[in-house]
Symmetry: C2
Subunit: 411 residues, 2 copies
Amino acid sequence: MGERYFQHMFANGLTLLAEKMPGMQSAAMTFLVPAGASTDPIDRCGSATVLSDLVLRGAGERDSRQLTDYLDSLGLQRSSSVGVHHTRFGSAAVASKVIEALPTYADIVRRPRLPGDGFSAARDLALQALAGIDDEPRQKLMIKLREWHFPSPYGRNTMGKKEDLEKLTLELCRADWGQRYHSRDAILAVAGNVNFRELREEIDRHFGTWNGHAAGEFKRMPPPGRFHHEAQKSEQTHIGIAYPSIPETDPDYYTLRLAIEILSGGMSGRLFTEVREKRGLCYSVWAGYSSLKGSGSIFGYAGTSNDRAQATLDCFIEELHRLKKGVTEAELARAKTGLKASTIMQGESTSARAGAIAHDFFMRGRIRTLDEIKEAIDSVTLEKVNGYLKAHEPGPFTIVTVGPKELKLPL
Amino acid sequence: MGERYFQHMFANGLTLLAEKMPGMQSAAMTFLVPAGASTDPIDRCGSATVLSDLVLRGAGERDSRQLTDYLDSLGLQRSSSVGVHHTRFGSAAVASKVIEALPTYADIVRRPRLPGDGFSAARDLALQALAGIDDEPRQKLMIKLREWHFPSPYGRNTMGKKEDLEKLTLELCRADWGQRYHSRDAILAVAGNVNFRELREEIDRHFGTWNGHAAGEFKRMPPPGRFHHEAQKSEQTHIGIAYPSIPETDPDYYTLRLAIEILSGGMSGRLFTEVREKRGLCYSVWAGYSSLKGSGSIFGYAGTSNDRAQATLDCFIEELHRLKKGVTEAELARAKTGLKASTIMQGESTSARAGAIAHDFFMRGRIRTLDEIKEAIDSVTLEKVNGYLKAHEPGPFTIVTVGPKELKLPL
């Protein structure tokens, strides 16, 4: 992998990824544990979310307070979140401190204390966060759109379900930890000012004897339908549109990405200029690519006043269909420049790179170099984009709206 | 200023700031024009916001579409926003492209076309964004808290007022542009892979003959009161607390910042551990320092379920008062490490540095080096922090709540 990248899979199935970034003082870690919302037990939606909080309430030799104080004493900027596939722990700081914290992250996933009082607090906070969505119609819309677009369990709200959270117990959480916090398919990525050999030895020392259980299989269920309206008294209507697309591993991936960049990249994107700038229909509108393992989707959003909601939806759908007629050379050139510029900016952030190499490995089984990405973007021609768009009509659409009134949907 | 920093004021009052960041391919620009919401004409609140959109709808030789297409063709990641003191234009990209765009930014501020159809669209979007706040109770709370904490015009909602936006005309906007888009007190900062001499020549060429008008004076009016409740049907109550503090230029600034870091930095901050972790009272709580020119404030927020709202407010106020009793050596050590780590991370982002040097110059009349900031943090002792906290009781509090029920306020 050359001087910049490093990849190693340990015998227990844990993969270590690293990227050396010259000139950086910092490093960032992304740690993906295969405990995402899609593998929550069927009647315990939200278990991964409660667990991701609970494992941080004391681990190894340290109780909850000691653990928090210790990690803060290293100056770590920390995060944790639950996605469809993984529970993700992130940290960033001066490089040596990120390395120094690794044994503690081994404690967190391997030797969490999972205390009873911590469980009550963690579950309460999960329930409160869930209730808080009612105050965030935009967030609510995106949650509902995923539920109606993806087959279950992929479309699950990662925050869980109220009725499931309420019947969750400490014992169930402990059992779930035993089941899902394992080394097989875990990915630990570090980017920044790092030494590969030192990093590998450190990971081997603290994670080498971590055990791997096999993950259980789960059944896929189709979403409840393609159209959903969520009544909400409001001055605004929130519109969400989704449709299936190709996975990231498809050879046409950058052809598609550039088409979507033309639709919604920068300020010259079609959606922004047509829906927002020219017609003044709404103050917020975008579309973007989103991927799960093995599949891809296009997601779109528009937030607008109630009286303009129908026109906004119609105009949005019209722009999606207009893609079939092709894009111009100038649009493609701008999209390429924009996408390459983002890639270069990402190459200057240790957190962005740690996240990107972990994502790459999960989706593709390998790290892509920044040069490889730039070359892939450059190799897309106008013929490829227009051929792709002609052959791949957008749809079928899943459409979800949040607001006072149902809209007339496109056939 | 050594090898890394550069500062120059042109005869017309425009200040150029630059920071050379070795190893970066990118550069970022922050351009502060002295047209903030606080200088909106008294009966035209929101004029700066409409203008910040309108000036981008065609400038110099380019119409709206050409301008947008051109800036996107450089791969610029762009932003614009209106704050209390300034209208801010930001860009980031490969360094050479940020430089290449500078003449166009001169067009935008000096030769905008200010077209009629663009005005209608810009005003419509401003009105829609304003109406959208009703769907965002957290954002609404922070807007109201500023209105009730700061003397007018500092507390104004930068998005404007509905009745003022409705009577705004193209002619008024054009006149406002003539009045407020001027070189005196404008600040243009660039950070990243830049050449000082080239940058200075480029700025001189395109902005050197930009004219300066003197800004008008305005009258300060005290806020309407210190306590406000905004009734909103909701499962959640949003609580905002503000109180006056010292300005950034005060010698005790880092003493105070570290105290606030102990209150609300990282995961070991007192608010987070007491209010959220221990008592499980709410899912979101924080406090932070916020500055205007010549004054500083502490702002705090908590979002919680209605039945826990009173306990959350009481606990928040209790934690603020508990600061008087002093902090521990361990708390201070963690706060120092945390604040220094943020400073180091900021030093690796061209956008963060461009914003920081522009802010520094506006607040202090000079750029501070990253080393100076680190030394200032290191020089704070436990005696200083505890002496400061003993001498500066928090308050008087401005308290704003958004939710279904008024809370009992502390005396």
